[in-house]
């Protein structure tokens, strides 16, 4: 299993090299503040890190994961054009524009393509794979995918895949600067960290970051799949990303992570886990059921079903009549002798139609789509009751 992690500074690199064990399979992601979403590393610092990496023959990957509108994208391209790209084993990109730019301008450069945003079906992943071809050395998949889906994809895709194993879960990415307007003028800075809580949500303490790329909000609980590394490896997923950039992660976790990925320990000790400031969750790893509540978002009984549909009750005059807005051609050849109705509460009624009238009181034998007709009153029927010619089967 390859440990994929971020290096932000020379101190990080030094610490990593001191901690790493023989046999550890790893890859280091280097970014800079102009190209990476959360990096604080300057371009000069990045160049220093790359030089050090080249000297020690370290496997380093350049991260370019910020999203850019056209004008900003032009500036990012200029930076990319001037970086020593040959010193990196690959570039990891997220914006489809970045994907296209690297594909067309640097076809020799290996890409790791971040597909964490959506991309929840095999059809699409295969299409990305086909489009990117040999240039793509890895697909980085969404943490909304369950293990069942991951297993399926790892078996079907030729391109190796990577998932997030540990770190913050990004919930929200805006290009707008949303925190600095709340800061005092004298406090204003280019990188702001804060936390947010809402009384309208049961969750408190969403970590927040504002920097030159905009504003980011993270989940109140962080992701950890570290207890499942063996299972993940058995799925044929051989790249797991560990993000130690926040919350003193390097200090608290690095040695344990290296031990874990080197196979020296089977799991992170409870003492180390306790050092983490927020609860750790498995996210959607076991199951993703984020569509099951959809059926409760609206009353299905007030939604028409096409079969045998006539229309909807739009007015009820107690003991007098019901007004039926006809929405189909069901009464075009002649009105039915009875109708079947389903109220918004789910009550089912059958109503005999001795007469059907226009709003003027004139009795009619047929009616067309969009006509408003009056039918006899029946107790228990309310507005939005759906009317059919027959009971539904």
């Amino acid at each position: 299993m390859k440990l994929v992690t971020y290096i932000e500074s020379e101190a990080d690199l030094d610490q990593f090299l001191k901690a790493k064990k023989p046999g550890l399979d790893y890859e280091l992601i280097l970014g800079c503040d102009a190209l990476s979403r959360y990096s604080k590393t300057t371009i000069d610092e990045l160049l220093t890190l790359v030089n050090l990496a080249v000297k020690d023959n370290l496997p380093v990957v350049l991260e370019w994961d910020a999203l850019y509108q056209e004008e900003r994208f032009q500036k990012a391209k200029m930076i990319i054009d001037h970086l020593p790209l040959h010193d990196f084993k690959a570039i990891r990109v997220q914006d489809p524009g970045a994907v296209h730019y690297i594909r067309t301008q640097f076809p020799w450069m290996k890409m790791q393509v971040i597909l964490e945003n959506g991309n929840h079906n095999l059809e699409g992943l295969k299409k990305w794979q086909e489009y990117l071809g040999e240039q793509c050395e890895r697909l980085i998949l969404s943490n909304e995918l369950s293990k069942e889906m991951l297993k399926d994809y790892a078996g079907e895709l030729k391109t190796p895949i990577e998932i997030q194993g540990f770190g913050r879960i990004l919930l929200f990415y805006s290009p707008r600067l949303l925190l600095s307007p709340l800061e005092k003028e004298e406090m204003k800075k280019t990188y702001i960290e804060a936390s947010g809580s809402s009384e309208e949500s049961p969750h408190t303490g969403f970590p927040l970051i504002e920097n030159q790329h905009g504003t980011f909000m993270f989940n109140v609980k962080d992701l950890s799949l570290l207890d499942h590394l063996k299972e993940i490896e058995e799925m044929k997923i051989h790249h797991v990303r560990v993000d130690l950039r926040f919350d003193h992660g390097f200090e608290n976790y690095l040695n344990s992570m290296i031990d874990l990925f080197s196979g020296e320990i089977a799991e992170i000790s409870p003492e180390v886990k306790k050092l983490h400031p927020r609860p750790l969750i498995k996210g959607f790893y076991n199951i993703n059921k984020t569509d099951v509540l959809f059926t409760k978002l609206k009353n299905k009984r007030t939604q028409r079903q096409d079969q045998n549909y006539v229309g909807e009750i739009v007015d009820v005059e107690r003991d007098q009549q019901l007004a039926l807005l006809i929405k189909t051609e069901a009464f075009k050849e002649g009105v039915a002798s009875s109708v079947f109705m389903i109220t918004p509460e789910g009550k089912e009624k059958t109503l005999t139609l001795p007469w059907v009238k226009l709003s003027t009181g004139e009795e009619i034998k047929s009616a067309g789509k969009n006509d408003l007709v009056l039918i006899p009153y029946i107790n228990g029927v309310t507005v939005k009751t759906q009317v059919y010619t027959k009971a539904r089967t």
Binding site: L67, Y68, Q69, E70, E71, F73, D95, P96, G97, V99, H100, Y101, N117, G118, N119, H120, N121, E123, G124, K127, E144, D152, L171, Y173, S174, P175, R176, L178, S180, P181, L182, E183, I192, G196, S198, E200, S201, H203, F206, M217, N219, G283, T290, D291, L293, F294, L297, K298, R304, D306, Y309, V314, D315, E317, A323, L325, T328, S359, L372, V383
Partner: protein
């Protein structure tokens, strides 16, 4: 001589709203079926409604685009080919898509025209080129892109370009918000957005919760682009989209009418130097909205685009009802949406031209019983007004 203008693309959250949007001036409408879109709480369209909607729109010269812009999971995708066959049979004019798996499935199973949804956050020329290679014929750009940038994207790719001109805004890059997924168990990118960005948050900058600042810091003002119509035209933007499939009939009708009237004026005159410009802006303020801004249309959205207020209702007008039937010289039958009284002065919005005032000289039930007040969710008779037609909106001033 007729001057070129972009297409006006309005929302159709239901069959009735489709009719309202088309009748009030939309050149095209977008709508969702029962699945695959991003508005699970909307009524959306059954197959028969879709068939009727397409027939209604096409017979009046308007186009119909169907949203398939969820980030679909495998099991959703498996159901898609059958729906694509139905859409092909109905001859819808395009589908709006954000997921590459959906694009691939569409291309395998149909010849439907593909528009890339704003949900895919296409923001730059290179990105547009990639999606063009994938099969998109039109790009609905991310709402973070300026009109000038959109012009560059169009020039560099030759693609049709669509931009939002009016409506609610996401603060996040579209498709880049999963707050609902993790906090409410509802996939925002499959139609379950819980609008957590509209909540008030306490922001704690230094770990001292007693000094936390309360703010609606993620709530965006609404977009209003009517003053920028000349820029859209200069940039040759092909389509101007109005957000709002979940919004009211009043909204769908008013926004379609205002932008439709403005664009019609340009087609006839080649400019927007109409004395009606102020009237159009006034009309846009009569529908439910948050404070307006131009978002990122002229420059990247700044601090002044944050709404920072609780959601509240201080509409100048409310929709009183929709005309169901106009019996000449007798009465109008009105599907009541909000209460009004005998003696009230209402405004009837014709499909074209200025509103007409109507005094409620009588208010009766369908059986002719006098009412002292109309009740939402009922149908009432009020006096006939010459020129009033089925589907006309009727509204009432509630605040002057």
């Amino acid at each position: 001589m007729s001057f070129w203008t972009p297409e006006l693309l309005s929302p159709a959250g239901s069959l009735e709203k489709l009719k309202v949007s088309v009748l009030y001036g939309a050149d095209a409408v977008y709508l969702g079926g029962q699945k695959f879109g991003l508005r699970q709480a909307s009524d959306n369209f059954t197959y028969e409604e879709l068939a009727e909607g397409v027939e209604f729109a096409h017979s009046r010269g308007s186009l119909v685009y169907v949203v398939l812009n969820s980030f679909l999971h495998d099991k959703d995708l498996a159901e898609l080919p059958e729906f694509l066959n139905l859409l092909s049979e109905l001859k819808v004019d395009a589908v709006i898509v954000s997921d590459l798996g959906v694009i691939s499935t569409i291309k395998k199973h149909s010849n439907l025209v593909i528009h890339l949804s704003t949900q895919a956050s296409c923001l730059n020329v290179e990105s547009a080129k990639l999606w063009q290679q994938m099969g998109a014929q039109r790009i609905v750009l991310g709402r973070e892109v300026t009109i000038k940038e959109a012009a560059k994207i169009k020039k560099a790719t030759g693609l049709e370009i669509e931009m939002f001109v009016h409506g609610s805004m996401c603060m996040a890059f579209s498709g880049n918000c999963v707050i609902s997924n993790y906090t409410q168990g509802r996939d925002s990118n499959r139609g379950g957005c819980a609008h957590s960005c509209r909540f008030e948050y306490s922001i704690d900058f230094d770990g001292k919760s007693e000094e936390a600042k309360k703010a609606y810091f993620m709530s965006s003002k609404d977009l209003e682009g009517i003053r920028l119509l000349p820029e859209f035209i200069d940039a040759k933007i092909d389509s101007l989209k109005v957000e709002g499939r979940n919004k009211s009939h009043h909204y769908a009708g008013t926004i379609s009418k205002v932008y439709g009237d403005a664009l019609r004026y340009y087609r006839e005159h080649g400019n927007f130097l109409s004395t009606d410009m102020l009237l159009w802006e006034e009309e846009l303020r009569k529908v439910s909205h948050r404070d307006y801004s131009t978002g990122s249309l002229d420059s990247y959205a700044g601090e002044d685009t944050i709404y920072n207020q609780r959601e509240h209702d201080d509409n100048e007008f409310v929709v009183s009802g929709i005309v169901l039937e106009a019996s000449k010289d007798q009465h109008l039958l009105v599907d009541v949406k909000s209460a009004f009284l005998p003696g009230d002065i209402l405004e009837v919005m014709p499909f074209k031209g200025p509103t007409t005032k109507l005094r409620v000289d009588f208010l009766k039930t369908l059986s002719g019983v006098d009412l002292v007040k109309s009740k939402p969710g009922s149908v009432v008779k009020i006096p006939f007004l010459p020129g009033a037609e089925k589907f006309n909106l009727i509204r009432k001033a509630v605040r002057v």
